[in-house]
Symmetry: C2
């Protein structure tokens, strides 16, 4: 039927419908879609070579056999696990807990884990559970992954930025924010932080800062929402523990995704939330994970068991280890990072000496600082006149920061494209960044 009726103006919709954070990625994609021939350092997408050996059917079968054995099910009953609704907390929780314990010594029990539709749902669920109304604020390390900002916006949660600095977070600033909130009768309820090669800056949090952050969080009652998406790209022999692994006081909720370490198309992630929640009247306790699982029934019911089996099988075929499942990819990403920063050294350092960049050991991203304003107009010029795309860092800042920065992602480019892309970037920067 014809729908001739103009329903509404944006004034009638939820405020997130016109929020820049929620719309930013669509907007960027739209702009970038206009320059299909440009070399793009924009998207943080996995490298396509990581899909070459994927075999969905084999993974699903592996996982089904594993679950059948663990649960004493016959072939048919195990098959049904994948076809039916399942528990909202997930069906591969044990596989995931094992992997987190093996790879990160997290000490997670399967009942601490909720399997989610990617890390995005893990963030969304955790925010929903933790924020009950006015007076509670979410702190985020600034600049920040837009997914957490958008989720907070959809839930009308107040957000306050904390500077990332060079150590991963400015602890004095966070302390001050906690005190200011207290003075105002509010509180910093939680902090979103990605300590390992954060998107967008590539920054890694120092060990000493991790210790200080955990102490501060415990002292101030701030829950740390630790996003572990890029941790697997750390160099071999890396020994910096995650906040979750260092946590002895239940201050950390671990949030993760299998999008990068396995594949995005399964849309599987997790939250690890073993904290106890107490019923004040009865004294009964449940895990925060139980609360998250219950709330999940009202958002997505459960994560597709078929998709869970893809990830479960892939992990099992790699010794139940995310690190092992992601090893070849991590090498590729580190190699791409080196190619990128080496090419910047060779081509950009001389021609645009006022431009600087960081040199992360892992992750997908490098941050460039320019002596001029970096905005959408500059991006369009870079795309149209120089054939090279990137992301303005201001997209990821909650405040006015990042207005002279851009983000380069090298995760899905070939060595040839990286080199040619940096050539074009050098031309561009030589012209605009003197």
């Amino acid at each position: 039927m014809m729908r001739s009726f103009t329903l509404d103006t944006y004034d009638d919709l939820h405020g997130s419908a016109t929020d820049p954070a929620v719309g930013s990625l669509s907007f960027l994609n739209e702009v970038m879609g206009r320059y299909p021939k440009a070399i793009s350092f924009a998207p943080g997408a996995p490298h396509t070579s990581s899909y070459d050996d994927l075999d969905l059917t084999r993974y699903i079968d592996s996982c089904r056999r594993h679950l059948a054995q663990r649960q004493g099910l016959d072939q048919e009953a195990a098959q049904r696990l994948l076809f039916e609704y399942g528990p909202s907390r997930g069906i591969i929780n044990e596989v995931v807990a094992d992997a987190l314990n093996r790879d990160h010594r997290l000490g997670a029990e399967p009942s601490d884990v909720v399997i989610t539709v990617g890390c995005q749902e893990a963030m969304f669920l955790t925010l929903r559970a933790l924020f009950r109304g006015s007076g509670d604020t979410l702190a985020v390390v600034n600049p920040s992954f837009v997914g957490i900002l958008g989720a907070a916006r959809l839930l009308d949660i107040d957000v306050v930025p904390v500077s990332e600095g060079t150590t991963g977070i400015d602890l004095a600033e966070l302390q001050r924010l906690c005190e200011e909130a207290r003075t105002d009768g509010r509180r910093i309820r939680a902090l979103y932080v990605a300590p390992d090669f954060a998107n967008p800056s590539g920054t890694r949090m120092e060990l000493e800062t991790r210790r200080g952050l955990l102490e501060l969080a415990y002292r101030e009652g701030v829950l740390l929402l630790e996003d572990t998406a890029y941790g697997f790209t750390a160099p071999p022999g890396d020994t910096v523990p995650t906040l979750g692994a260092m946590d002895t006081s239940g201050s950390v909720v671990t949030l993760g995704t299998f999008a990068k370490v396995c594949l995005p198309g399964a849309r599987v992630g997790y939250a690890v939330a073993g904290q106890r929640v107490t019923d004040r009247e009865t004294g009964d306790t449940r895990k925060l994970a139980d609360v998250l699982a219950e709330m999940k029934t009202m958002i997505t019911v459960n994560t597709s068991p078929i998709a869970q089996a893809v990830i479960g099988g892939l992990l099992l075929e790699h010794g139940g280890s995310m690190t092992q499942a992601g090893r070849a990819k991590a090498e590729l990403y580190r190699s791409n990072l080196r190619l990128l920063t080496d090419a910047l050294d060779r081509h950009v350092a001389d021609r645009a000496p006022k431009v600087t960049w960081n040199r992360p050991d892992g992750g997908f991203f490098v941050r460039l600082r320019l002596p001029v304003a970096v905005d959408m107009a500059l991006l369009k010029r870079s795309a149209a006149d120089y054939g090279v795309l990137w992301t303005p860092m201001s997209t990821f800042y909650l405040d006015e920061g990042g207005d002279r920065e851009l983000r380069l992602s090298c995760s899905y480019l070939s060595p040839t494209d990286i080199d040619e892309g940096v050539h074009r970037l050098a031309e561009f920067l030589a012209d605009v960044a003197q």
Copy 2:
């Protein structure tokens, strides 16, 4: 690490953490889990025989070949569609729009469709987009599917019940609610309704009532959120159109799931929202579906393309028709419904003459009215002493209604179990319902 720290009391979490609607299904499942040998008329789960011929690999391949052909992609690029992130609105939108047009004459364009993680996410997203804050109320036909109540609770949306009555909705009551809201400076923003064999009552909305509802909705500016989950179970030759198919004024958002007509394990559903949203400043318009897709990036990013391919392939193998894909299942469910109501006639009518029930032509559910209070205590007695489970209807009521009603679901039982279950039910009712 040990998590010895007791984080919080429920007072510190969002109110939905202790909301009966959100917790109701977990609670019921917990009670029912204690009686594994009882015959259960409780869960509205699909029949296991509907899984017999499923072939995930074949469906995925079918859908991939179809998408490759439509989009002019080679084998490798088409494969990547399933492995990578994809557009948040989905990759099988055209297949789904075609099916809705073929089966329901909905007149949907692919760009009206957002593919979601089941109908639950479609409801959640639609509520988020439509409700911007205080003053807007969601009306729901009472009794109601708990999924919509839970979603509204998670989003702090006010909900008001409208009686279902025998015609599917009490239009005079809805009209009165709209007027009362207006008087109070509020409005009824939307109505959730499942016109075809609603869960939990099995009621079907009459054609005349559908016409009246559409008129009222247009006149009062109430958006109708039409849940179509059980429509495919209508008898052959059925000609009652959906609200969406009758809609000429953009008053209907169609919400659906492939859980029942295909399989639950894919977790794929959809929203159809072709309504126009206008930017007051620029005059530009977008579809409501575009807004939903953008918001989805902040909840689940996108629906697993692998899961979408399972559903897309299954539909394509059935002539691109949900009706055809669900035909054998629909016959089974109607047969089970007849077996159930016939058995109630034979075994219960004489022994508990004060008990009455409805006789739906489709859906999964029959409603029994008892002359006594139906509560958890009665359910426990039924389970422990008579070996038969069901769901108290009060679970699905927003007000005090349904306290003498119970719901029977027959979707996943065998003929033998239905007969034996009704025998046990007759024993139980003969004892308690005189």
